[in-house]
């Protein structure tokens, strides 16, 4: 049918007129977009938080200079920075960051691999959802640190304990994120899939999963946050055995030595790793995801 369409339309003057009319209306109704360059966008995203950081550190230093508190109770920015440098020079900082990131990343990936099928099952199978849904929501509220004592008894002082706690923290969030993503799919999209003749498998892969992606992604983000928090808690509590040296262990060590500068420095490092993962990995993917679907407010572009 489409093959002979063009030749048929080419000789029809009234069709040309309709074409021009439609083109005119289209351009009247189209919303002009004013794209900003990637550089400008990055600049807009990076400058405000850096300004705030500089301001906070300056205020902190001014307080130290004016109030002169006991340095072992309230260390200044210089002391904390010094602690960071000494941790770097003794290679403890690098070791702790890589160990923790490795555990967090691996644990998160395992959590994704487990949470995604559970979420799909929950979203598409009513009986499973009625049975397992409340339990999963409950697990999401339960602080995963609560599992640490049980995990130590089961797995001893090993990496398995740490991973177990990460999974208990991250899996419910990821599964629940996918469920809410699937729940928010407009029913019309599924109907279109049916009308277009999609099989069950095609419906799942070509319609349901891509449509649920924004919800799933925010579940992943939350899952990472839970994984990172659980990891830190586990590392602070589980010390010794054949467990490696992570950021939590470093925090614990500094506390044992009553080294407040070291404690604060470690807290800052944990915070920055969290921010960095959000800024470097999650934020760009999420921005892209939402912008492509027109779900992003104009001001945030």
């Amino acid at each position: 049918m489409p093959a002979d369409t063009r030749t048929a339309t080419a000789h029809d003057p009234s069709h040309d007129e309709l074409r021009r009319l439609e083109a005119g209306l289209d351009s009247l109704q189209a919303v002009p977009e004013t794209p900003r360059g990637a550089f400008r966008r990055t600049l807009d995203g990076v400058i405000p938080p850096i300004l705030l950081l500089v301001g906070l550190v300056a205020a902190w230093q001014v307080y130290i200079l004016i109030a002169k508190p006991r340095p072992d109770l309230i260390p200044g920015p210089v002391d904390v920075f010094g602690a960071l440098v000494s941790a770097w020079n003794s290679d403890r900082l690098q070791l702790a960051v890589t160990t923790s990131l490795e555990r967090g990343g691996l644990g998160f990936l395992i959590a994704v691999a487990i949470g995604t099928p559970i979420g799909l099952l929950l979203a598409e199978c009513r009986p499973v959802r009625r049975a397992l849904g409340p339990l999963l929501s409950g697990l999401q509220v339960l602080p995963s640190v609560a599992w640490v004592p049980a995990a130590i008894i089961w797995f001893g002082l090993s990496d398995a304990t740490v991973y177990f706690v990460i999974l208990m923290g991250a899996v419910p969030s990821i599964a629940n994120g996918l469920v809410s993503g699937v729940d928010q799919i407009p029913p019309q999209l599924r109907r279109v899939g049916t009308v277009l003749g999609a099989s069950r498998f095609e419906m799942a892969t070509l319609v349901v999963l891509p449509a649920a992606l924004p919800g799933y992604f925010s579940g992943l983000k939350q899952g990472w946050a839970f994984a990172w928090r659980s990891l830190m808690a586990a590392e602070i509590i589980v010390i010794g055995g054949n467990i490696g040296f992570g950021l939590g262990s470093m925090l614990h060590q500094s506390r044992e030595l009553a080294d407040l500068s070291g404690v604060l420095a470690t807290i800052l490092v944990i915070l920055f790793v969290g921010i960095l993962v959000e800024l470097v990995i999650f934020a760009p993917i999420e921005r892209r995801l939402l912008r492509r679907r027109g779900l992003m407010a104009a001001g945030l572009r």
């Binding site: 049918m1 489409p2 093959a3 369409t5 063009r6 048929a8 339309t9 069709h15 309709l18 074409r19 009319l21 439609e22 083109a23 209306l25 289209d26 109704q29 189209a30 919303v31 977009e33 407009p186 019309q188 999209l189 109907r191 279109v192 049916t194 009308v195 277009l196 003749g197 999609a198 095609e202 070509l206 319609v207 891509p210 449509a211 992606l213 492509r292 679907r293 027109g294 779900l295």
Partner: protein, 261 residues
């Protein structure tokens, strides 16, 4: 243009052309609720443009969904001679994560068109609705009328002989709707599809239909039908459309009044 009024609807029209859709004593109720559709008998010829007209809640969308196979009839049977039908809804329901071109390509893919032919096929279909330039745009970048045209191209991509349309232009502004009437009529003449067009807009039905079926409400029955001998395109503001519209409106109001008591 001549208007023939034929109240004895139960009879099939003279079968000069092959029949595309046959509906045989169709009834529908939801659960134990009241009858939604009652004893619908209908035969739609291939290539016909049929408008299904009725007040809100008369079951016209239900009837369309049954023809589409999205709902099951309680009694009776529906036969679509060419197999399944393509459907277009009031909401364009384009997949927001795909560009206009990929939306059409997805329909081609689900139809089984090989990958290498899909891009060209999609562009050709988009060109048919004057949107070849918008192939790389995403649905949120298109206006409502453009989205509906992409949806039209997508339902044409299914390459089914029957196209079912459920108030596809109801949410559009009047200027856009007027243009889309012209567009749809042109596509219909070019592709020879059988179209069943559900609407509650009398003028729209009088503008587009070759055959207009008026439905009563609660239960939904087909109470009257008008056949318009096709003498080329007609404008929505033309006197014959107005005259036919007046006649249909009078009867539609009569049907609605009956529900007052």
């Amino acid at each position: 243009m001549t208007v023939l009024t034929d109240v004895s609807v139960a009879q099939a029209p003279p079968a000069l052309e092959p029949v595309a859709i046959t509906i045989d004593s169709l009834g529908k109720r939801y659960g134990t609720g009241p009858l939604v559709l009652d004893n619908i008998n209908l035969s739609i010829g291939a290539g016909q443009f049929v408008c299904l007209l009725g007040a809100s809640g008369c079951g016209k969308s239900t009837l369309l969904n049954i023809i589409a196979g999205l709902e099951k009839p309680t009694e009776g049977a529906v036969t679509v001679a060419s197999g399944k039908a393509a459907v277009m809804f009031q909401d364009a329901a384009l997949f927001p994560w795909l560009t206009a071109g990929h939306n059409v390509e997805l329909a081609l893919k689900l139809r089984g068109v090989p990958r290498k032919d899909r891009r060209a096929g999609a562009l050709e279909l988009l060109d048919l609705v004057n949107l070849a330039d918008a192939a790389d745009k995403r649905p949120h970048e298109l206006s409502g009328g453009m989205r509906q045209r992409v949806a039209l191209a997508r339902s044409l991509a299914q390459d089914r002989k029957v196209l079912l349309m459920d108030e596809p232009f109801a949410a559009l502004d009047a200027i856009t709707r007027d243009l889309l009437h012209e567009e749809l009529e042109r596509v219909w003449r070019q592709t020879g599809r059988t179209i069943v067009f559900v609407t509650h807009n009398v003028r729209e039905a009088a503008r587009l239909g070759q055959r207009i079926l008026l439905m009563s409400s609660r239960p939904g029955r087909i109470v009257n039908e008008w056949t318009i001998t096709d003498a080329g395109s007609r404008r929505i503001e033309s006197p014959e459309v107005a005259r036919l519209g007046d006649e249909i409106t009078d009867q539609l109001r009569e049907e609605i009044r009956r529900n007052a008591s």
